[in-house]
Structures are given as C-alpha cells and as structure tokens.
C-alpha cells in the first residue's frame, strides 16, 4: 500500500504542501493571520508564547517553532516577528533552513507597522506558494507516515470503540514500518502499569513512568482533586467517572505494538515504530507538539465532538458516538458507531480507517481543513508568564 505525498529535501514526506506563516510571538498573531488569509495555499500557526517567560519555556518556543517549520507538510516558511520578543528569531530561521526550505522573516517593528508588514508578507507568501505549487505528489510507502494519536472530548464510546480502532490503525502503520506518536501523558494516569508492559525494555518503561509522575505531581501541587479538570466536565457528562477510567480507555489508542522510545514535548523521534511523547491532553498543545515532532497526519478520536484540526497537518476526526456523528457532521470525518452497534469488528473498522488515512494522506481534505477550524493553537509551557 502507498500514499501520494510531497518529497522534501531533508528526506521527509509531506501529506500537504502549504506555505506556513508562523508567528514567533503572541504579538505577531494579527499580522500572520492577515497574511495567510490573503494567500491561497498559505496557512498561519498562531500561539500565545515567546515573551516574558523563563528560559526553559523560551528555549521550548524556539525548538517547537523549528520543529513546526521543518514539518514536511510545509513547502516553505514565513516567520512573523514583532522584533522585541524573547524568541530567538535568527536561531529559529536557521534551524528551519537546515531542512533546505526557503525561510523568510518579517519583523513588524522594522517593517514599519502592521499594514506594511502584511503587504510585504503577502508578496513573499505569494512567491512561496508559486514555487510550492510546482511540486507534484508521488507515491511513497506507508513507512513515511508519522501518525499522531489524540483523543478529545471523550465519552464512554471512546474507550469502547474509537480508541481501540485507532490502536489497530497504529499497529498497522507500525507494521508497515511507519511511526506512531502517543502523547497525552495525563491520560496515562491509572493505566501506566498496562502501558509499561508495552515498553521495549525496562529503561524505556521507566522513562514513561517518570513522565507520568511528573505530570501527576504538577497537578497535585495545585492542592486540588484533578477531577473536573481531568476528566473534564464534558467527560463526566458523557459517563466517565475518574481519570483512571479515562486513561484505561485512552491508552487503547496505542494498540499492541511495543513502544520504542520516550521523548520530551515536540521532539522529533529518531526511531520508527510506536513512541511516547510528553504532552498534556488539551488540544492546542498536543496537536502542536505532535506537529512539531513531525507528524504528517493525525488520528483524533472524540465522543462528544471536539472540533479542532491543525493549520497544516490533516486531523482525521472519528467517533463511535452515533449522536455526535449525526449532530456534528461538519466536524466528523469517520464513524465507528458500527462497532458500538455490533455490526463491524474492531479489526474491520481499523482496516477501513487505514484506507481513509491513506486517502487523507494523499490529499482528501478533512472537515477541520475545509472549515479552517485550526487557529486556536498553543505551545505547552511548564513555567509562569513573568
């Protein structure tokens, strides 16, 4: 089986061919958004970080922006900077350029304000789109897929149908030599003993358990029961009672493949197969983390109906909840309510989902791409705003 993708100079394969307009700081968002809105083929990544933060977070902003810029779904990158932020613009531009892509930077304070920056940015983005549009899709093996795994607005159907179906998909991608990234460490809490059995060795299991302890301690230090935050109010309405129950359903996304390595947030895996990446469960941060780690397609399960996609990585939204499938059809891409009905097995649904994934990787648009429900993204920070 093959998909049709875009070959990149650094060896990566894109499932999309966008020009990325990346804001380097919260203060550049308005300009980045306006540039992208005026150029067909360009898409903006907006966030709220990059200034008045401790070095651990500023370094992370630099690294995540480099990771996003290098994502194979981007043909070229336009950085939009205010000019006085803490983000190291030169380092970010140089880091992305290592991939062989064209990188341009607009600095609002040097350009002379937003109006001139938008005008100049549009001209740059237009020429980048012209160049990008010359590239043609070509067949590639599934081993070039880097699948991101995510569940959001979960309900009881998530653990019983959509998550196990994605687990089968993940196993199929891993069997084909591809990569699958499991994040949402919060949702390992209470199920980490089961996940640990899937580590390739004890050292790798230990690293995963450390991430879980770190995440749980962060929550405990606040002095409250995490219930209400995790599981969320919506999870509880949907029938999920505790974080343990949510986690036991959530880890089904990982399938049965052994996980090979554990990474910090947004770090690109240097091995193939199933890997674990630190991240919280909230959509803006994990979708960004998966994309910075090089995911070129994301499978996102939902129970009650989470709408978000990502600006330049297709996010396939699937649900086992028949009501959500019908009520939120403008956000849903794929139904596995057949599994809940007992008319399709998990294996059958997993193979059907693989076929959908190959179509999407080859260009079929997802609902989030069509509707543009992709602008509320963010980078996962560990320290305070100061």
């Amino acid at each position: 089986m093959e998909f049709l993708g875009y070959e990149r100079e650094d060896g990566g394969v894109g499932t999309r061919n966008y020009v990325g307009v990346l804001s380097t700081v919260i203060c550049g968002n308005e300009v980045a958004e306006k540039i992208a809105s005026q150029v067909k083929g360009a898409t903006a990544f907006l966030h709220h970080q990059g200034c008045c933060q401790t070095p651990i977070d500023i370094n992370r902003v630099n690294d995540v922006l480099i990771g996003l810029g290098k994502n194979p779904n981007l043909a070229a990158v336009l950085l939009v900077s205010l000019g006085c932020e803490s983000t190291n613009i030169q380092m970010v531009a140089d880091g992305i350029a290592e991939s062989g892509k064209r990188v341009e930077t607009i600095v609002i304070q040097e350009e002379g304000g937003a109006a001139r920056s938008v005008a100049q940015g549009i001209l740059l983005a237009q020429s980048m789109v012209t160049d990008a549009s010359e590239q043609k899709r070509a067949p590639f093996p599934l081993s070039e897929l880097v699948l991101g795994l995510k569940c959001g607005s979960s309900d009881t159907t998530s653990g019983l149908s959509s998550n196990p179906v994605v687990g089968i998909l993940s196993d199929l991608i891993v069997e084909a030599g591809g990569t699958s990234i499991l994040g949402e460490v919060t949702e390992f809490i209470g199920a980490e003993h089961l996940l640990a059995k899937h580590a390739k060795d004890e050292e790798t299991a230990g690293k995963m358990l450390e991430l879980v302890a770190r995440m749980e301690n962060r929550a405990i230090q606040m002095g409250f029961d995490i219930r209400g935050g995790q599981p969320t109010g919506g999870n509880i309405k949907g029938g999920l009672t505790t974080i343990e129950e949510k986690s036991l359903g959530a880890i089904a996304k990982a399938g049965n493949a052994p996980f090979q390595a554990v990474y910090e947030y947004g770090v690109k895996p240097d091995v193939k197969g199933l890997v674990v990446m630190d991240s919280p469960g909230r959509e803006p941060e994990i979708l960004t983390g998966l994309s910075a780690a090089g995911a070129n397609v994301i499978a996102f399960t939902t129970g009650r109906g989470a709408p978000q996609g990502f600006p330049f990585v297709p996010v396939i939204k699937l649900t086992g909840n028949e009501k959500t499938w019908k009520n939120l059809i403008d956000h849903m891409d794929f139904s596995v309510s057949s599994v809940m009905e007992g008319t399709e097995t998990l294996e059958e649904a997993g193979n059907r989902l693989l076929s959908e994934l190959v179509d999407v990787a080859s260009g079929k648009l997802t609902k989030a791409e069509i509707s543009g429900y992709t602008s509320s993204m963010d980078i996962y920070m560990v320290g305070p705003v100061i």
Binding site: D155, G190, T241, T242, E244, M340
Partner: protein
C-alpha cells in the same frame, strides 16, 4: 443486534449502558463472554455506568478488569455508578493539602 449494556471483563463490577435504560426493567447484557441480567432500580443514560452487583462502600471499582476508582457509598445493583458514589485514587491534590 444493538446491545443494552456491556461489562467488558467478567471480573468487572460495573457495566456501561449502550442505550438509555429504564427504571424497573430487566436487561440482559454482555459480560466478557457471558450474558448477565440486571433489573434497573433507576434510569441509566447512554454511556453511563451502573452497578452490576451490590458494591459496598470502600470497594475498588473494576472496569476493563482494572481498578478505576473506589466507592464512597454503597452502590446497590442496578443503580447509577458515577461521580456521586465513586472517587478517583489519583491526582488527589486535595488529599495532600489536608495531609490525609
């Protein structure tokens, strides 16, 4: 055929409603590879759990064959098992604060 409810492993003590279940009705449901039946003492909404057996206060709640919390009250068979009578054992900053 559409199932009424599912108990994922036979050792579980809660089951999940796969459609809205009415009070006073007796429902058959899948329990691992077996079939069980329980009479509902109250209505259970789609996606929510009910006690498949009488669950005394302070008992581990088992779903997927794993511990998912602990009962904070007696949960009679056929009644709603949820946040009002099950507590989480993890991420409990509230307990640390009280020094429990």
């Amino acid at each position: 055929m559409k199932q009424n409810a599912i108990m994922i492993k036979v050792q579980d003590n809660v089951a999940t409603a796969l459609r809205d279940l009415d009070a006073g009705q007796t429902y058959q449901f899948v329990a691992g590879k077996e079939t069980r039946s329980v009479t509902m003492k109250e209505a259970i909404a789609y996606g929510h759990k009910f006690a498949a057996v009488d669950i005394p206060k302070g008992t581990d709640i088992i779903k997927y064959g794993e511990i998912m919390g602990r009962s904070t009250a007696h949960i009679p068979q056929g009644t709603h098992a949820h946040v009002q009578n099950i507590e989480s054992l993890r991420g409990r900053g509230d307990l640390e604060k009280k020094g429990v």
